[in-house]
Amino acid sequence: MGLDFAVVPEYLDRLLLGSAWTIGITLAAAALSFFGGILFAVIALYAPAFVRWPFKAFAWLFMGTPLLLQLFLIYFGLIQIGIDLPAVVAGVIGLGLHFAVYNSDIIQAGIRAVDNGQYEAGRTLGLSQAQTIRKIVVPQAVRAVVPPIGNNMIALLKDSALVSVIGVTELTLSSQLAISKTFRPFEFYLAAAACYYVINLALEAGLHRIERRIQVAR
């Protein structure tokens, strides 16, 4: 069985629709992972012990198990205890939380690197602890860690392929649907890979711009 890329154009609109879903899921999950990461970092560093320890256990669980398993558990497992999430929402939450935990690690390091004097200065100026953290420490910390967080978002784009297993018709499942009709895996997976690569390049370029703007703003 040789190769025949002529079968691809017929399914192009579906692959593009799948790409749109992939982009949407990635952006939503990236936003969740970014703000979630900041929240988790603040909890890990400043929250009282009775909040901090359960959170740490949660982070420990997320970092120690595969994303694929977490997605299955969120979609097929949670409903057993009455939490019913549509597949897309389960996918965004799974991806978002998974990467929020990783981002939180990076942001914690960023917060620690912000000079302690800044915190003291904020308090001396009469800001409350929460205000100091929100207005002085976090903005500086986040700026410093934009590149590694950007890396995580690129990783997130590729891991979004995993939500195909819980039935979200994004790019990967769209190509699988085409394969189940044409029986031509190589052509369609290669086409899907090309779509991912283009989205990836666009995302990298976008992140690059943000990085530059932040550097200028400094």
Binding site: L3, L173, Q176, L177, I179, S180
Partner: protein, 264 residues
């Protein structure tokens, strides 16, 4: 397109030359019956998620009607059997990709599939069933309009459901997901072969009822064993083995054991 594909071919072939040596090289001309006999083993594929036809028991072994039939055919060809489980939507792709020698996995014989594979059999009769949760307000086919219908990706029922007007079709990887989702209430109905569901109702007491679809034409399908095209000898040998199994009562015994009755 030809030049592009050639370009890909040479680029990829060069890149993975080392990899290729790990693979099994085999001549294209020979009928695969010879290869199977030479290797002394026939690899058969199924989803492994389709009780009672094929599923994993608590000892992590793949058992059921399909592996039993497959093993019996292999025995009569004088070779061992090796069972492979794989996702249903990629199962024909895997056969064409020579990942196994036959699909003995409750696959219905269709014209579309016949274009890419040959079928031995049929070895049992299956019919389409539509199931809803007990107490559902859906009483007949017309009531399914605007509802969420679950199907397995790559099954004949998937295509059929997609063709129905006004159904919101959702695809899943297999029957277990379908039953879980119906039970969860995420979908309103499932379209699938009826025997496995009827058995699930009997064995596990799933709160599911079948819609009366007797008005539907052409809902009966035949299950066949898929092999790669261009293997007349293998086809003949497997068909002869299957016929013998049906004649000497072995078939009936297997059917009784796993399904609880003759399903021809």
């Amino acid at each position: 397109m030809k030049t592009i594909s050639n370009l890909f071919k040479s680029a990829l072939a060069a890149g993975v030359m080392v990899v290729a040596t790990l693979g099994v090289s085999q001549s294209v001309q020979a009928d695969e019956l010879d290869t199977i006999k030479e290797n002394g083993v026939m690899r058969i594929a199924m989803s492994g998620a389709y009780p009672p036809f094929n599923f994993v028991n608590e000892q992590n072994e793949v058992v059921g009607f399909d592996p039993a039939i497959g093993a019996e055919i292999a025995k009569r060809l004088g070779v061992e059997v090796e069972v492979v489980t794989t996702a249903w939507d990629g199962i024909i792709g895997g056969l064409l990709a020579n990942k196994y020698d036959a699909i003995v996995g409750s696959m219905s014989i269709t014209d579309e599939r016949k274009k890419v594979v040959d079928f031995v059999g049929p070895y049992y009769r299956m019919s389409r069933g539509i199931f809803v949760k007990q107490g559902s307000d859906v009483a007949d086919l017309a009531g399914l309009e605007g509802r969420k219908i679950g199907v397995t990706l790559g099954e004949t029922h998937e295509q059929w459901a997609q063709e129905q007007e006004g159904w919101e079709v959702r695809t899943y990887k297999g029957l277990p997901e379908l039953l879980l989702e119906l039970d969860n209430g995420r979908i309103d109905a499932i379209v699938t072969d009826d025997i496995p569901v009827l058995l699930a109702i009997r064995e596990n007491g799933n709160a599911i009822t079948q819609l009366d679809t007797s008005g539907l034409a052409g809902v009966a399908d035949q299950a066949g064993i898929a092999i790669r095209k261009g293997n007349p000898e293998l086809h003949k040998a497997m068909q002869a083995a299957l016929d013998a199994i049906q004649e000497d009562g072995t078939y009936l015994a297997i059917a009784e054991e796993w399904v609880g009755g003759d399903i021809r």
